[in-house]
Symmetry: C2
């Protein structure tokens, strides 16, 4: 009997899917590459050939979900645009069902430089750049105080969200996002 052999990319997808499934069932901690390979019906080599570690695999699996999902449209209103951008990121990664996995992944990045680098390159930097670009455009249109540090503004927007996700481990609601935006812009509007 000739088993229909799957193509390379189909295997890659099957492994990612198995990783996400097992991750949601058992949690990241008790997750082994052995188990993922078994679930995907694949040899361990086939996994190791593609990813160097459990963290790299999970990160890739998780971030493959977004792709275009993290784009957002422009309304002309800075606050509204930022709100939408943050809502989408928060809903995807800090909402069900992927919050625990994303959380564990950021945790893993604290031990594993490879995961940290990949996380920064594929998610953190793109998001931060988008935020700063939008702020910059607003500042040039006179909607913001011209002396405000945009990188700092970005950190003040992002920081409390990660603080909630990682430290207090409370849910990230839209209402919380709104409050941060409100507080930030209270101090950022141009002075009369």
């Amino acid at each position: 009997m000739t088993t229909a052999r799957r193509s390379g990319s189909a295997l890659t997808e099957a492994i990612k899917r198995a990783a996400l499934e097992l991750g949601q069932e058992s949690g990241y901690a008790k997750l082994s590459i052995e188990a993922i390979a078994a679930r995907a019906g694949v040899g361990k080599h086939t996994v190791y050939r593609r990813w160097s570690s459990k963290g790299a695999l999970m990160l890739d699996s998780l971030l493959s979900l977004d792709e275009s999902a993290l784009d957002y449209s422009e309304t002309g209103d800075v606050v509204e645009d930022l709100r939408r951008q943050i809502y989408e990121a928060v809903d995807l990664l800090a909402g069900e069902p992927f919050r625990p996995l994303f959380q564990s992944l950021v945790g893993e990045a604290q031990h594993d430089p490879v995961v940290a680098a990949a996380l920064t390159e594929r998610f953190i930097t793109p998001q931060a750049d988008k935020t700063v670009a939008r702020l910059k455009a607003a500042r040039e249109q006179g909607q913001l105080s011209p002396d405000f540090d945009l990188d700092l503004a970005m950190a003040i927007l992002s920081g409390p969200l990660y603080f909630r996700l990682l430290i207090t481990q409370e849910p990230l609601t839209h209402e919380y996002v709104d409050r941060i935006l409100e507080a930030l812009f209270a101090g950022m509007r141009p002075r009369r």
Copy 2:
């Protein structure tokens, strides 16, 4: 020959010391309880009897360093008081030589609820409470806008610091702390 036997608390201290030493030498990731016990000249039971996991041991070892170190004096100026409080926490845990360990520990808290709970109870909550209490006192003295959410202010102070520590993994300088304080209070001062 009768080996001089160490008392219980002396053993506890010796194990903590060994854990911190090995943690700084090898990094948290490649750290085993076996190795810690060996370094401390102690049986594994003696470790397991005191701590339930590597994370619990490391957290205890690290936070035992502060004790009274995280107290600070009152100057009457909110910003100055908060600055001192944050400096001290940042210098101890996010400065050399303990930054990598603290970082890994917060990472561990993402997988291990026991570590997360201990971290919250022994460090996060006390720090947050202190900050909020100081803000509250200032507000009651009319130094702050009366409608500002103090918990949110605390998150805006803490969030960017953890963002730097965990996400962008840049050093936490006093200068950065100052900029956050400045930005926050720009939006918090009472309106005329």
